[in-house]
Amino acid sequence: MNAFKVQIRVMPRASLLDPQGQAVQHALESLGFTGVGAVRAGKHLVLELQAANREDAAARARAMCDRLLANPVTEDYLVAVETT
């Protein structure tokens, strides 16, 4: 078994309204930051994971996303595995 650090990004699906992202965008505008286009707000999870290899770690992280970490109706996710 090897130790991996798994970074998981969970984002609201692009087709859905993201009021948090919109609120952040408006706040940035009102602070004078110009040129900010659409802002989307999601979640970032960092897992320490013991796995046989990088592929195994990624497969298990994807299974975690499918089961719990992301809602298949409303969210998309991205998994990145790093060796520690």
Partner: protein, 238 residues
């Protein structure tokens, strides 16, 4: 008298009101703790409102893996009757027992106020004492109440008459098609965002929610019309 199991999760906060409302409706209501795996042969299960597991990750996402939810799923999949109110609705969606999902309110604010809804479906065990098209005033209290379903699912819900309650006048949270409550295709699982248990007596400002619980007891209401009588133009259990 029906046996009604009110499931209590850590963070449930409408469980006591829901138990009282079910009892006021004539049911034999009792609590089932989320660690229990035996629902004790209920006729209906109610998942009450609240903030189970602090709404961590997503509302209902962790509660759906509680030990009791296996029993609730088995009950539902065998045709058993289940109602989810607010957080309970969120849990049922997370568990895949109802289609769609509930996301952050479109205007981000937590909303706690009465809203107007229209009864769209009266062929569920929780709405059969209402009249179709009737408008009710019931309170909402949620931050994550925006019902979301993809276009195909929403069309199926509409075509199948699975929208149970719909916001009228004002859509408080940005829900798809103004949806305030849905049922599954089998019509035995119902989820609603408003809180009928908080408006089941005049002293609470109105009793528009009472018939959700009276509906349960109005067994075969159409066949046994003698159990029901019209009071103020509404059907109430005698």
């Amino acid at each position: 008298m029906r046996r009604v199991a009110v499931v209590v999760f850590p963070g449930s906060n409408c469980d006591a009101d829901t138990l009282d409302a079910a009892r006021a409706g004539g049911s034999d209501a009792y609590y089932v703790w989320h660690r229990e795996t035996d629902l004790r042969q209920p006729d209906a299960v109610i998942l009450p409102g609240g903030f189970s597991y602090g709404d961590y990750l997503r509302s209902g996402a962790i509660a759906r893996f509680s030990p009791v939810m296996q029993a609730v799923s088995a009950h539902a999949r065998a045709g058993g009757v289940v109602l989810g109110i607010c957080n309970g609705f969120q849990i049922l969606c997370e568990a895949g027992l109802l289609p769609g999902a509930l996301m952050r309110n479109a205007r981000l604010k937590f909303l706690s106020r009465p809203v107007r809804v229209r009864v769209e479906a009266v062929d569920t065990l929780f709405t059969r004492a209402y009249e179709r098209g009737e408008e009710l005033l019931v309170p909402i209290a949620h931050g994550d109440g925006r019902y979301v379903a993809d276009a195909e699912t929403a069309a199926l819900l509409e075509a199948g008459g699975q929208v149970v309650w719909r916001y009228v006048g004002d859509n408080p949270n940005g829900s798809t098609n103004d949806i305030a409550g849905v049922c599954n295709a089998g019509r035995n699982v119902v989820g609603i965002m408003p809180h009928p248990e908080r408006r089941n007596a005049r002293v609470l400002g109105g009793d528009d929610g009472a018939r959700v619980f009276l509906s349960l007891e109005a067994r075969n209401a159409t066949q046994h019309a003698g159990d029901m009588r019209a009071v103020d133009g509404r059907h109430l259990r005698v």
